[in-house]
Amino acid sequence: MRIAVCVKQVPETKSVKMDPETRTVIRQGVQAIINPLDLYAIEAALVLKELYNAQITAISMGPPQAVTALKEAVAMGVDEAVLVSDRAFAGSDTWATSYILAGAIKQLGDFDLILCGERATDGDTGQVGPEMAAALDLPVISYVNHINELQDGKLKVSRLVESGTEKLSMQLPGVLTVVKEIGEPRLPTFRGKLKAKEIEFPSFDLETLKLDKSLIGLKGSPTRVVKIFRPEVVRNCELIKAETEAQTVEAVDAMLAFMEDKSA
């Protein structure tokens, strides 16, 4: 069994800055981490590796610094990694990103399963998993919270939806996006860290992937960001101190009156 796990390097949320000219996220000088939700996809892959002796390849598209995210995946137990990087990829929206990632996956060939996190914590779209599946003409199951078993080439999983849990089976190959309930990500091992230090992995660029230039980067992206702005803070907090019992009673009365006033 061969598994690909897609990971993204994201800026630490607390230190995000935007470039008002290009209207894109400034990544330079901002602390970058592996997308926290991708750790669950790695964990799911590692569990399958133990059960079915799977071989795992981590794939990340991004600037050269994204190797850090890939090394982190290797330290957790992933076997191989591939960086997908080219200046021409910059400015890609989710459509173009999915086209590029699908190209990298095709290049690596014959995966049984592709795992993604639910979404990245910077863009917050959750679109790349399903879009990549479509680009690869594979089925996708999103919001997977449990992988039950593999039987006759079919993977049985549970999927978290608004009103409960669906039970589904998917004929492999296919794509899953997983949620946090899939299992707590393990910590890097000592052996993994050593391997991560030494591992050399290929970098795929535009030329390696032989992609259609008109479908990548800003040019290949159907969507355009036309404006970015800070959300208006319209809240004006009415703060009430409750130090003594009398104050507390008053504060609670004020709170109930406030709720009634707002009919909340």
């Binding site: 949320t13 946090k180 992206s221 803070v233």
Partner: protein, 331 residues
């Protein structure tokens, strides 16, 4: 004429209420752009009343595509149907709810149709000069709003955050066209099969709730959570938690609100001992009304609150609960 379409959702043949929120969005766009509002819905034996309801609440045309394979959401049959309708009707815009269905189907279809898609929008508008759809959404954990458009590719597709707009009201006397279509034959080619469903029995769905009571680390112990649960029950609210509470195992992951948990937009959010880490704010700051109880006057949560009590929650809650029990009700 290229029109504005919504994807209505159904469950066991009944139209889901989130579809009516999309009609509200669609009506505003239709009015501004002079286009018609249409609805598509996929399922099996969809009840006529539901389709009439879509008309009564704003759709001029409803296209229902039906087949046994469409009873439950499965990615391939659903995308075959949507792509078929895109082919037949050439929609200018398609809006879907940012639900587990919408957030999976829309990207899958957008990829194949080479269409632009914007996720989880909270505001929509039509650009006056160009007639293009302007889609505004929070990004980077709600710290930034981005307005996005799709100049050339069609349809322009968006998923819309549930509960970000009211349901379109029913207007008596409205009429429209209902078209029932047989699904394309390819719907029988699905590599995913539906094996069953376990409904969420335990508690109220956090994202559907109009009120949520949320506990943070200030609750101190797992046993104390009962206090918050009692308050939630009295208010008819769902119970949520910050990440610290989930990481300690005091409540299960479906209760988590924030960047790596759920995003909620209830009418009323009450934070109890929630400090308001930015990751948590990302999942709740678009709530309509926010109340916070925290003993630290500097707590971040007060920056996004409308009303705050600076005090010991273990003093405040018993009094609040007592008053609510005595029927000093607010609704």
């Amino acid at each position: 004429m290229k029109n504005i379409w919504i994807l209505a959702e159904q469950d066991a043949g009944e139209v889901k209420a989130v579809s009516y929120e999309l009609l509200t969005r669609g009506l505003a766009l239709a009015e501004k752009s002079g286009r018609k509002l249409c609805a598509m819905i996929f399922g099996n034996n969809i009840a006529e009343e539901g389709l009439n309801e879509l008309i009564a609440r704003g759709a001029e045309r409803v296209v229902a595509v039906e087949a046994p394979e469409l009873e439950h959401f499965l990615i391939e049959p659903y995308s075959v149907c949507m792509l078929d309708l895109i082919d037949k009707y050439e929609p200018e815009i398609i809006l879907a709810a940012a639900t587990s269905t919408g957030r999976t189907l829309m990207p899958y279809v957008a990829m194949t149709a080479n269409a632009g898609l914007t996720a989880d929008c909270t505001e929509l508008d039509i650009e006056e000069e160009t007639g293009l759809l302007l889609q505004t959404r929070p990004a980077i954990g709600g710290n930034i709003m981005a307005t996005i458009k799709c100049p050339e590719h069609r349809p322009q597709m968006s998923t819309i955050r549930p509960k970000s707009t009211p349901e379109a009201p029913r207007q008596e006397g409205r009429s429209g066209e209902i078209i029932r279509l047989k699904a394309p034959t390819e719907v029988n080619k699905s590599r995913v099969s539906y094996d069953g469903f376990e409904p969420e029995t335990e508690e109220m769905n956090l994202q559907d709730a109009e009120r949520v009571v949320v506990v943070g680390r200030g609750i101190k112990t797992q046993a104390n959570i009962e206090l918050a649960r009692e308050l939630a029950d009295l208010l008819g609210a769902a119970l949520g938690a910050s990440r610290e509470v989930i990481d300690r195992g005091w409540l299960s992951y479906p209760h988590q609100i924030g960047l790596s948990g759920k995003t909620v937009t209830p009418k009323l959010y009450i934070g109890i001992g929630v400090s308001g880490a930015i990751q948590h704010l990302a999942g709740m700051q678009t709530s309509e009304c926010v109340i916070a109880i925290n003993k630290d006057p500097e707590a971040q949560i007060f920056h996004v609150a409308d009303f705050g009590i600076v005090g010991d929650l273990f003093e405040v809650l018993p009094i609040l609960i007592e008053k609510l029990k005595r029927g000093e009700k607010i609704c």
